[in-house]
Symmetry: C2
DNA sequence: GTTCATAGTCAGATTATCTGACTACATTCG
DNA sequence: CGAATGTAGTCAGATAATCTGACTATGAAC
């Protein structure tokens, strides 16, 4: 029970999230964990609200609430979806790009620490196993 | 970025949590994710509220709020801590034990599915890497 | 060109979480 | 011993994140 794989992943994920959020906050970006979980799923060309909601596994209303905040703070912008007048695309704005760069740098740093602790071989095995696991744990695995 | 190890762990953890919570709910136990995250840290001899809070990384107040609910629903009980009159131990009660058994069975099942998908070798490597990672991502690693 | 489906919003309620202030007991040390 | 300081937990109030249900506007299908 103490060695439940799900719980172990929770622990490591939480450590990563904390590191990233702390660094992003220290760089002057006031983003909450819930906002970040939406933000991180926005694609390069923008993503629809409903799609963000589905991927983050929250309702459209919740996603909308969080995107409103991100938009007000200047991290994202909403633009019309040229292919569907009902929809709008959520796109990363300039400030969001800056915050994203800070986040990406910390992810790289933390992963390097993990690799240093585990050794390159085990880190590669971890990545491999997690990537394969995604095939059965993520309904969005093929995007 | 799409292959951030932290995010991959989040995905797998979320899938595990959902499976467990759904099965527990289907068995008639009305436990929320937040309650479960506290509940799962209660030791066999009972655990203090402050310790549960620290391990779950929430404030004592939040932990107290959740334990209140678990207690009202009959999943846990609070007993005096014989070694300190200020403290009380949160212990798993009969209904909690029953719910915990359902949860443990689902964890076993999901892990078996993962092992089937990855193969025994890769599943063992995954466990090994996660266990080692815990040494640097969990301040409570030595309990 | 109605009828049904989809994208998103509005409104209201609930749940989980925090900070700050407080009480009671424990520990320390002069 | 007894005052000063620290620790376990609770109370009160605020805020953040989430949900369900009802609604509008646009697109798709027949």
């Amino acid at each position: 029970m103490a060695l439940n794989a799900g719980l172990l992943m929770f622990t490591a994920h939480r450590a990563m999230e904390r590191r990233v959020l702390d660094a992003v906050a220290a760089a002057g970006f006031d983003i909450t964990a819930a906002q970040a979980r939406i933000f991180q799923r926005i694609g390069p060309a923008g993503t629809r609200l409903g799609e963000l909601a589905e991927q983050a596994q929250v309702t459209k209303q919740t996603a909308g609430f969080l995107v409103d905040q991100l938009e007000r703070a200047g991290y994202v912008e909403r633009v019309p979806d040229p292919t569907d007048a009902r929809a709008r695309l959520v796109r990363i704005a300039e400030r969001g790009r800056a915050a994203g760069e800070v986040a990406a740098a910390v992810v790289t740093e933390v992963e390097a620490e993990w690799a240093a602790h585990l050794g390159a071989r085990r880190m590669a095995q971890l990545r491999d196993a997690l990537g394969r696991l995604r095939e059965i744990t993520d309904p969005w695995a093929g995007e």
